[in-house]
Amino acid sequence: MEQKSSKSWRYFFKELIYANKGSSFGSSFLILVLSIVTIIKTKVIEKLIDATSAFLWDDMMKQLIVLIAIVVVNIVINYWKIKLSTYFGASSSNYMKNSICYKVLHSRYEDISAENRGDILKTINNDVETVSNFLSNDMTTLLSQFVLFFVVLGYLFFENPIIGLVTFSYTPIGMYITYQINKRMGAYYPKIAQAEGNATGALEQVISQIAVVKSFKMNERRLNKVKERYMDVQGFGFAISKYNGMMQTACSMVYAVPHIVFYIFAGWLVLHNHLTLGAMVSIDQLLDYVLGPTVFFPFILDGLNYTKAAISRIQDFSKRLTLEEDSQIELMEGSEVAVELKEVSFVFGDKKIFKNFSLNVDKNSITVISGRSGKGKTTLFDLISGIYQPNKGEINVKGKVFNMTQDTYIFTGSVMDNVRIVKPDASDEEVLDALEKACASEFCKCLAEGYNTQIGDGNGELSGGQKQRIGLARVFLSDAQILLLDEPTSSLDEETEQKIIEQFNLMSKHKIIFISTHRDSLFKLADRRVEL
């Protein structure tokens, strides 16, 4: 447990603070200056009151001018402190989101596909927010508290070490008690965060499959999972509340006990003429100054605990993802295009999908991969396109590959955007041509805004066949020399399928095409057939 938390703090300091050196160090420096300025301000106000109460106008004017100068400095420093710490929080949030995005995009597929979507989104929304809010607000308060405490302590020990020692004798005990309570309390925050993440994950799945949930009327059953997690959150929260209550008293004691001890001790000293009244009042004010904000400690510690839990979650999420080197086989001019699998073995989960499997295609042709469902047709394509790496053997692919998946993912954007994504510098004519070849032109023209209609998540539903045809348009637009087509016509009717088959035949003259299917109509196309 200890190792985990120390690792998360290392992440915290290293990445976030150094990534935003200017604002983090800047705001910390200003906090230091501000603490000193505030102490000077108190002193000057003291002198001003003394001068005013004695009607010493000249003295008063002097102190007033000094005070105004200090106040102006105070305001300016405070202004910049807030600006810098806000900037720090904002930059950190930016940095964290970009870094999470990078990890999601560049991690191994098997790692990211196993993640709980709703959980990740909760991390991005809540945990990142918690950390950046802490950096903007609470951290500065915490820092300034620490600084103030040590500055005043130093001053006090310098002026009157005995009083200092006696007054703050309780402080280590108080700090220890606070720390212990916080430790016990702190154990619950990661649990709360995890339960919330799981609840969000379950809810996301309900929303993603809402049609099925409604039609089977499984609302209650599916929501039970969500509600159970929310109940867990409440349970942990109630446990935390016990400690939070104790914390109120503990923090209050950190404030009050030194005061009480001071009044007893200093009072005795004054009564026995070992200390002047003025000095007692002055030290009392300083005490108040330093210990006053301890009243906020419960809130700050609460924020700190949430932040620690949030950082742990962000960190754990990162740890679960292994980054892969982007394996994109470069287009080598003039060299042969070929796909070669040598003695490839691959285990998926706990099933051996391939064992010493070999395949070699180096001529423009159509190779049909057939086999029973689950035998590995899709997995073969995943291996060739680099989504997975084989456990044994090697895969040599020379040339650019494009893999058309069984289910086409429609991105949020226009129809044109969705096709163009495979070749970003394609012209409009090329895109429209590809759509035409894929027999998608007709339905696109009938859409509300034609080819510029927004499709994808949240923009209405396309039918299975329509989605597949957009996927096929991507195939026709792609300039890859090797095409992997996974059940490319499964949602199309016979007439449309025929037209597509014609296109495949045309393409086979200058591309290496693999088609995985179990349909007779496509078997006929095969120059070569591989049964898995």
């Binding site: 929080g89 995005c101 596909s113 991005i124 039609s215 969500v226 099933k351 396309l462 299975g464």
Partner: protein
């Protein structure tokens, strides 16, 4: 709005306000009583009166003892209220979400919904935990402080009131702008969520299309916008704070000099002036701290409003079913009569469509993709309401089960994914359905069998395997009507044959409507309808 938030607390309302009031009272007690104790200590020390000093120290300790005993209780009450209220609301929100019409889900990206349930929800949580409490405490504490000040010296209090009102007015200007920025930030965060969601959902496609850099840029732009709004908000906050600081010191100085003037003209003595100035820290709660807390309250309110807007969306209407006549009920399971439908009101998907499905027969619906086949199923299921025409069910057998085109499984065990089709299903029934659907065959080969945990959307299995589980889920419902949407598209020949066999067998128990473009199914169908 506030009353609505408070009503969320239901029966814990009372204890919440009791706790907050106690906190207020305690704070007022300490801030009003403590100066007297301290005065007693200083005067006692001055007059070398050890008894006075002792009494004052005891009083001081007494005040704190009260705080040490009462505040934990109050804090526990407040905390429990927050966790309890949030749980109830989150549960109601989930229930409400599921009841929203499916058109809402068609037109709203999932990422946006999740953003509301997480991001905006935390605004509500902050509201209940901190904002309400702090606003009330500062307000009450400040007002009580002001009242005490009025009692002590109304002239002084008047000055403080006037200056304080100016302070509130100025702060209001800033907090309004901050609320607007908060709203912008929440909107932008929802957009960022949408982008992230797509990145995660499309992780495979993105890798295959190698458009990672493009997608990274999308997020970079979104995150940059968030950063900008935050910084703008911070600037406003910095300005507001500076002005509050400035006003604070100006007020202090004015009070000091007015006090000095009073003493000079013998209208008051220094002792009371010092006491009055120390009361300023109380009235500060009203004039300096309350506006800041109110600003934070407004920031949270921006999120709460969005959340409530979602909560207030109309739930789907229950579509009352219409039934066939007795005569027709002997032959038919289902009839669509002159049905017209359009998703968005402009493009008509179905026009005067007619169809009859006979009892215990297999009815095939064929047609080009996109012509509305899936739509018919969705209308039968009652997910959408027909624009025109009627769907007539059979009085005696109107239960419907659905096998969608895309399997739509979820993150749970295979067993759960099947048994969720029927909450009353026994284990045997689940296994039987699995066998009929051909699930048994591949589950046997999995290490954890039916307890195998699937990933989001059921990923981990092949398309054909997912489709078979989806079929088993429908079969376990043992409904009167079975709707199959392109179920053989991902199945190989063997499994297709097996399925057709199963369908033949099922005909005795239910009526089947099969949507497909696979002409080979025609041979086992009793009726073919072309779109």
């Amino acid at each position: 709005m506030i009353t609505r938030i408070i009503s969320l607390m239901e029966n814990k309302k009372g204890s919440f306000f009791l706790a907050v009031t106690c906190f207020c009272m305690l704070e007022v007690l300490t801030s009003a009583f403590l100066p007297f104790c301290i005065k007693g200590i200083t005067n006692g020390a001055l007059q070398l009166d050890s008894q006075k000093v002792t009494m004052s120290v005891l009083a001081y300790t007494g005040v704190f003892l009260t705080w040490w005993i009462v505040s934990p209780l109050c804090q526990i009450l407040i905390d429990r209220n927050r966790y309890h209220t949030m749980r109830k609301f989150k549960c109601s929100m989930s229930e409400h979400l599921v009841k929203l019409p499916i058109s809402y889900f068609d037109n709203t990206p999932t990422g946006e919904i999740i953003s509301k349930v997480t991001g905006d929800m935390s605004c509500l949580e902050s509201m209940i935990q901190d904002n309400l409490q702090n606003v009330i405490r500062k307000l009450l504490g400040g007002i009580v402080g002001l009242i005490i000040m009025i009692i002590m010296d109304y002239r002084f209090a008047l000055i403080v009131l006037v200056l304080g009102s100016i302070s509130i007015y100025i702060t209001k200007y800033f907090t309004e702008r901050m609320e607007e920025k908060s709203r912008n930030l929440l909107e932008q965060q929802a957009n960022t969520s949408i982008d992230f969601m797509e990145m995660i959902k499309a992780c495979k496609s993105i890798r295959l299309l190698t458009c990672q850099n493009q997608k990274q840029k999308v997020i970079a732009d979104a995150a940059e916008k968030e950063k900008k709004i935050r910084i703008e908000n911070g600037n406003i906050n910095a300005k507001m704070n500076s002005i509050i600081l400035a006003i604070d010191i100006i007020v202090y100085l004015i009070l000091l000099f007015v006090g000095c003037l009073f003493v000079y003209h013998s209208w008051a003595n220094w002792g009371s002036i010092v006491a009055l100035i120390s009361m300023k820290s109380n009235t500060d709660m009203l004039f300096s701290e309350f506006p800041v807390e109110y600003g934070k309250y407004k920031n949270s309110m921006a999120g709460v409003k969005r959340l409530f807007a979602l909560y207030d969306l109309k739930e789907e209407e229950n579509i009352t079913r219409e039934y066939l006549t007795a005569e027709e009920g002997t032959r038919l399971a289902l009839k669509l009569q002159d049905v017209s439908f359009s998703y968005d009101g402009s493009v008509s998907v179905l026009q005067d469509f007619n169809m009859k499905a006979e009892k215990n027969k297999l009815t095939l619906i064929e047609g080009e993709s996109g012509k509305g086949k899936s739509t018919i199923i969705k209308l039968i299921l009652g997910l959408y309401k027909v624009s025109d025409g009627q769907i007539l069910f059979n009085q005696d057998c109107s239960d419907v089960a659905y096998v969608p085109q895309e399997a739509q499984l979820y993150r749970d065990t295979i067993y759960e994914n099947i048994s969720c089709g029927n909450e009353n299903a026994t284990k045997e029934e689940v296994y039987l359905a699995a066998k009929l659907a051909g699930v048994d065959e591949f589950v046997k080969g999995l290490e954890e069998g039916y307890d195998t945990l699937l990933n989001d959307d059921g990923d981990k299995l092949s398309g054909g395997q997912k489709q078979r589980i989806s079929l088993a889920r429908a079969l376990v419902k043992k409904s009167d009507i079975l709707l199959l949407d392109e179920v053989t598209s991902a199945l190989d020949k063997d499994n297709t044959d097996k399925l057709l066999e199963t369908i033949e067998h099922l005909k005795q128990y239910c009526s089947i409507i099969f949507i497909t473009h696979d002409r080979s199914i025609e041979r086992i169908s009793d009726e073919v309808i072309m779109l």
